[in-house]
Amino acid sequence: MIKRVSSVLLLCLIVSLLVAAPVPAQEEITLRFMGWIGLFEFYVPAWEYMIEEFEARHPGVTIEYIGTPFEETLNQATVAILGNNAPDIIQAVASWTPQLNAMGALASLDGLIDPEVIENTPEAARAALTYDGSLKALEWVPAPIVMVYNRNLLEEAGLDPDSPPQTWEEFVDAVERICALPAREDGSSVFGVSLRTARHPNSGHWSLPVIWGFGGDLINEAGEVVVDEEPAVNAFEWYKNVVTSGCSPEGFGVQESRNVFMQGRAGFIFEGPWVRGLVNSLTEGEWTVAPDGDVWLAPMPAGPDGSRRMISNSHVLVISEQSPHKELAAEFIQFITTDLEAVNQYYEVSDQLSTAQLDLLTSGAMGEDEYVQIFVDAMANADPVPVQHPQWDAMADVLSLSLQQLFQGADTAETLRNAASEIEQLLAS
């Protein structure tokens, strides 16, 4: 018996060695693209079109796709870069670029990408993605985070679903009123807003617009950490109250907070352009996203000075410094962001913005889509990289930790003083 087992194991080892052996180099050029676009089944037709069409136009070029789930792409890209094995192009989120850039992993796009294409992207994003004077990433899918609301719940709470809250004061009030609604038929309670408060940097990232809404900031223009000053303290005090009074779920991550909203159990949620696709799939087509439907959206409420500052979880494309085919990589990036057919197909399958090229966003099918235009309008006030520092993620994690401490009863001012000193240390590191 042992003999048989060991011979099976031996066979496995031989197989594993064969699989582990490096693939022989090909004579033709292979562009390696890492990202999550091809992992979603419904995106695949558009993604395949992009690859096939580009390969047809450039004989001898093959696009090799390396699929990585969204949450892990940064780590996986880091593994590849440190292993001297970086893919030529990486699909990234804008807020990852400080870290990738600090590793010296990003090629400057100036001179590689056509200046016209660069200037056709929103200015706020361009500024955010420029490091020491050179552009290191091109915005692909702009994703301002806006206020999404359940029209039925607003109406039930005696609010006008056609004029959602315009200011943070109105928003706070609306949350309370929806939260006071009676329990649903199955006995589940209604939340005013479904906030992300899990122990994850993402929760900290999503708390920024709330801090801004209360007139505060994380780091001011002079580079000082001001998260322990009064407006930000008020913002976190609101977080604490809204969660401890049961008006927002506690400790929910991205998926859970969405589920609660899609079950019709929360008045508001802060989401990006993917929300329409989410509503369709999670409610199995029962809900519609429309100005007169079940769910509609508006820019984030205005702060005390009347400004609306939003975060943006934009998808960007970067070229590796290690890439031996930077020109070709740039051509592929230009093709997928500017080719009308590629952009339209991607728009159709994703049901959201499919390029950052302003002329394409404001014309054709996307130009007529009221939903898309809300995000196009929001883009001017949306910041894809709120803190241009390689330790941004760690800073966001400090905020998420602070939120959780508050829910356990910690003092808000003191918690934020500690957070501020930790963030100062991270800034200095």
Partner: protein
Amino acid sequence: MILNKRARFVFVSFLLLPSVLLVAVFIIYPLANGVRLSFTNASPLRPLTRYIGLENYIKLLSDSTFWEVLYNSVLIIGVSTALSLVVGFLLALALNTGLRGTWVFRTAIFQVWVVPWIAATILWGWLFNSEYGIINYTLQQTGLTAEPLSWLARPALAQLVMILGFVWRTIPFMMVVSLAALQGIPQELLEAAAIDGASYLKRLRFVTIPLVRNVLLTVGLLQAVRMFQEITMPWVLTQGGPVNATTTLSLHAYKLAFQRWEFGLSSAVGTLWLVFLLVFAVIYMKLLVRERE
């Protein structure tokens, strides 16, 4: 044996070579290099690495997070090891009575030992789900709690969930080891005690437990040491939250190294961990020696 000195030397060297090579390259070097890195600001995000003296240590020791994490790890691992040792031993006692059919129970319970951590973790998330979990359902039905408990949002409850997970996964091993230890006790000793009129409990206290105590304590210690390395459950289930309630030392060091890419700082955590182990080992040895004398 019969080999001459030279042949013996060659043969033994050959036998030891693969292991020693693996250990030297992948344990000793990483350990030494790790201790070295703890005095630097090493990070793949920084182009230059330089020595910064004790800065990492000062940062860690003056940070309440580190102490919190240390306390939580000791709490979770200490309680779960002790609990699984006690339960495992009791089960072994029950199985060791020679009742008919107990092998079925032993086999069935031992299967839990191979349930992969990842499966146990997903399973735990479902059992303790605050809205649809069977645990909350049962508690409410039996009237033990009025409201559903949010197991993973409250620090003390989340720690309890971890402890229960660790205990569940460890009991079978403890049971089998205890059973082996019990079966190693010479039957005559127990019979002699019985003839002297000692009750079952007395025999347990004065004969059985003293005989198996050291073996079980050592096994428990080994198990605790292994548990310190385990991160699947806290990583997947709570990401170390709420606050830091379920962040164990290894999860903390892992996150510092491979999420924040602070190799230096993480190495300092690892080095301190090593120092604690050394101190603990020395104390343990001293106690053991004293007891033997």
